[in-house]
Every structure is written in C-alpha cells, then in structure tokens.
Amino acid sequence: MSLKVGVLALQGAFREHREMFEALGATVVEVRTPSHLGGTDALVLPGGESTTMRKLLDTAGLLDVLCERIDAGTPVLATCAGLILLASEVSDARDVDGDPRVMSVLDCTVRRNAYGPQPASFEAPLTVVGLPGGTFPGVFIRAPVIERTGRGVEVRSLHDGNPVYVASGPVRATTFHPELADDLRLHEQFLSEVTA
C-alpha cells in the first residue's frame, strides 16, 4: 500500500511537490480544508509566500489541526515559506505584522527574504549529508536565512556558513526549493525516512 502524502495547497509550489511524490509512487492529496487531512501519513508545506499562507491557514481553519498533527509526530517536509511557518522565531518581525510565528515546532530563528529582493535569488550546488550521488541543485528564491538552530536540530547542508537543510524530530525543512530542482533525491530521502 502506498504512502499518502498531504500537500498543503492553499498557495505556492504545491503542484511541483505533488508531481515529485507521485513520480516516487506515493498517493498525494491536496490539502485546502481540514477534511483533506484524513488518512495522510506525511505532510508537505510548500514554497510560496509565508505571509499569505499564514493568513490562508487561519481562514481555512487549518492552523490548529496541522499543529496537532505535527505535534503528534506526523512527518513533515517544509520548504522555504513552509520552514518559516514552522520556525519558533522570526527575527525580522515588525509591529505591523503582528506575531509572524505560526506553528513554532522547529527550534530555530529565521530571517525572511534575507538575501534581498528577487534579483538576488540564486542557484547553487549543495553538499547534503546522507544524500548519495553528488551535490544537489539548490534553488533559492527570496529565501530566508536560518540564523540560529536549537540543540536538537540537525544541520544537513550549509551554504555560505548558514544552515539550509535541517532535521528535527518529524520535521525536515529547507530554505531552498527541492520541488523546483529536476532531482527527486531529497523527496526520496524524506519518503524513506518516513517509512523507516
């Protein structure tokens, strides 16, 4: 029986995640309301705009249920905006934003859009711990920077001294977009850890 992966599909690059997990043989359901979460074995929080996604999570009534699922140990792959949603601290928060922390399940401090506006977005080859087959194509788009990681957080890849791929409990999170790379290895690694 194949694994059922719920991809948060409120906004952003959810289609790319869906296509990659389907190519790896998983069953994928797009999650837009709490009822879509039923029966899912793993979750994906895709890249997109974190400010927008946070508001849409609220209006869709998904915030609390997602937190409960992740707290209960459901594996989650979070990329870029998804990582920001999980972080325990957002260092560039301003009063006008209200509190940008959303789920606080990953002990780290992130700075949103830390490399600058879109012209500073870049591609870079990454060495990833535990990933065979050479470097992984990192696609960084208006990416955040992880400024601090907590004690239980394992760093799996660095770029320019900053962690860009971290793991903690059931959470796997990247500041780059594996869903935009023509490379299934990171998704495959996530699935094999879910089933392990």
Binding site: A9, L10, Q11, G12, A13, F14, R15, R32, G47, G48, E49, T51, T52, K55, L56, T59, A60, C80, A81, D92, V96, D97, R111, N113, A114, Y115, G116, P117, Q118, P119, A120, S121, F122, E123, A124, P125, L126, T127, V129, T135, G138, V139, F140, I141, R142, V145, T149, R151, V153, E154, V155, R156, S157, L158, H159, D160, G161, N162, P163, L180
Partner: protein, 316 residues
C-alpha cells in the same frame, strides 16, 4: 552578493560533519530562478496599489504580491495622456511597507525604465500595455536582465513571442480598468485552447503552426509535448468579483492579478480578502458563495465593447 553580512558566526558544533558550500559557487538570474518566483505566487492574487496604505491593506487581505503604480488602470483610462513608469520614491515606500514581493510596470519596449526598476530591486517587472508603449516594433530584451519579467498576451503566438524574448510569466491582457471579465476569458480560452490543439498535432503540423503563430518552432514543440506553457500563466484584466476569480482559475489560470477591481470598489479590504479566498478555493462553490455575501458595490465598470481605447491591442 549571496550570504548575509549581518550574520557573523563560525561553524557551530551542530554543524560537524557538514561541509560548507561557499558563496562563490552561486548563479543569479537563471530562467529557473526567474520562473521559480512565478511558481511561488501560484494560487495567489497580485493587487494593484498606489500607496503604502493600500499596499498594507492588500497584504493584510492575503495578497501574494503587490503591483506598485501611480494610477490604477481605470484612472489611466479616465485621465488619458501618456502613462509612464511610477516615481521611484513611491515604489520604494511601498517596498518598505510590505514583506510580499513588489512588482512595477515599465512601458512596452522601454528598456531604460526596466533598468531603473531593476536597480530599485523590484521583484518582477511588468512590461505592460496599460502604460503607453515606448516602441512600436520591439519589446524589451528580457534575457538581458537579472530581474524577471511578466508580459501580457491575447493569444498563444503573442505569449510565445514574449517567452522567446525572456518573459518568465505570462498573463492574459484582458481589458484593464473595465471591470469586465469578457476579454480575459477570451484570451485565456484562446491560449489554452490552442495549447490543447498543439498536443495532438503531428510534426508537419507543428512547423505550420509555428509559422502561423509567428513563434520559434522549438518553443512550439516544447508546448506541444508539455501541454502547457513553459512559464506560469496568470489572469489579468477585468476581475472584479470572487466569482470572476473562480471562473478564470477553473479555466486554467494559475493566479490572478486584480487592478482597479479592489480599490475602486466600495469596501476594498473585504473585497480583497474575498477574492483571495475565492482564488485559493476556486473549485468550491460553497466557499465562493460564503465570501461573496455582503461585499457592497463592486467597481461600476465599463463594458469592454463600449470603450474607445483598447489597451489589449498594444504590443506586437
């Protein structure tokens, strides 16, 4: 340019066994990075705003990006005259007011305006027919820029010509500033219908179609094999209600631009939020019904066949 100078820290003990990838190995301005930002905006609403206050209202409502411009299309249409790139000071104020991406418009073919916008660090440049064209034969060579471009199109040939010039996102032109969705629907149906027809064409037909579309045959072949454009296709021009957004999303648009439709309506904040929800939940009529209640008046609008100036005819 990559890396963050504000962060000064060595490799901590949690990083043991992880080899660093130094900043020098990175590349900016690639097609993947340019198209990638458009993919991040998918399922969202990009809203026209003319000042920081409107930008904050848009962001609060859930806009996925804002388009900074001096006058919304309805006012450009009313005022007439030459419409140009916005004041850089105003664009910077809007950049400072929000965390979502900020886009800005340059005139068709006006590469010097595009250079100015790139130097301001805008996240996307819209080479837009809503402004008065600066060149009657040439669009901007968009490959020459690091900043990505979005361009309008009315049919598949126009979309492919813009992509061949380097556009990283295509939007329907619609008929901006009218609040009438009919033109956007025509453009989307034309683009998507012609793509569907390409997927069943044989090789000889693809050569003929490339000539008819006035588009490079390699690009035509790519579209035929993918069944979609190589860049995201968004909808713009005439969206005024949540149901309008649901309509174009179900037709196959991947996100929506809303211009005059929000800030020319009676209650912009509520309408903006409703259009955002309708774009996300476009195939759920119960949600569209819920968010469509009590929105007060939409923009009055102009029927597209009653107007004298057809912005969609600009561009070549």
């Amino acid at each position: 340019m990559c890396g963050n100078a504000r962060i000064v820290r060595g490799r901590s003990r949690y990083h043991e066994g992880v080899s660093d990838n130094p900043a020098g190995t990175h590349t900016t301005g690639t097609a993947r990075v340019k198209r990638g930002l458009a993919e991040m905006l998918r399922g969202g609403v990009i809203m026209d705003v003319v000042d920081p206050d409107q930008a904050r209202v848009a962001e609060d409502a859930g806009a996925v990006a804002v388009m900074a411009l001096e006058r919304v299309p309805a006012d450009i249409r009313r005022d007439g005259g030459v419409a140009r790139m916005s004041d850089p000071g105003m664009i910077e104020e809007i950049q400072a007011a929000v965390t979502v991406p900020v886009m800005a418009k340059c005139r068709i073919g006006h590469f010097a305006e595009a250079q100015v916008l790139e130097s301001l660090g805008v996240d996307y440049v819209d080479e837009s027919e809503v402004l008065t064209p600066a060149d009657e034969a040439h669009h901007v060579d968009k490959w020459a820029f690091t900043v990505p471009f979005v361009c309008g199109a009315t049919d598949l040939g126009e979309a492919l010509r813009r992509i061949s010039e380097g556009a990283a996102m295509i939007r329907s032109k619609g008929e901006a500033g009218t609040g009438d969705i009919v033109q956007a629907v025509r453009h989307l149906r034309s683009i998507l219908g012609d793509i569907r027809a390409l997927t069943v064409a044989d090789d000889a037909e693809l050569y003929r179609r490339a000539k008819e579309l006035r588009a490079p045959v390699d690009l035509v072949r790519e579209v035929a094999s993918r069944g979609e454009l190589p860049v995201p296709l968004f909808c713009a021009g005439g969206i005024a209600t949540p149901a309008d957004a649901a309509l174009v999303m179900q037709l196959g648009a991947q996100a929506t631009f809303v211009g005059s439709g929000i800030f020319k309506s009676e209650d912009p904040a509520t309408r903006a939020k409703a259009i955002v929800e309708a774009t996300t939940h476009h195939s759920d009529p119960a949600i569209i019904a819920k968010v469509s209640r009590g929105l007060r008046s939409p923009m009055l609008g102009l029927a597209a066949d009653e107007i004298d100036t057809h912005l969609a005819e600009r561009g070549w």
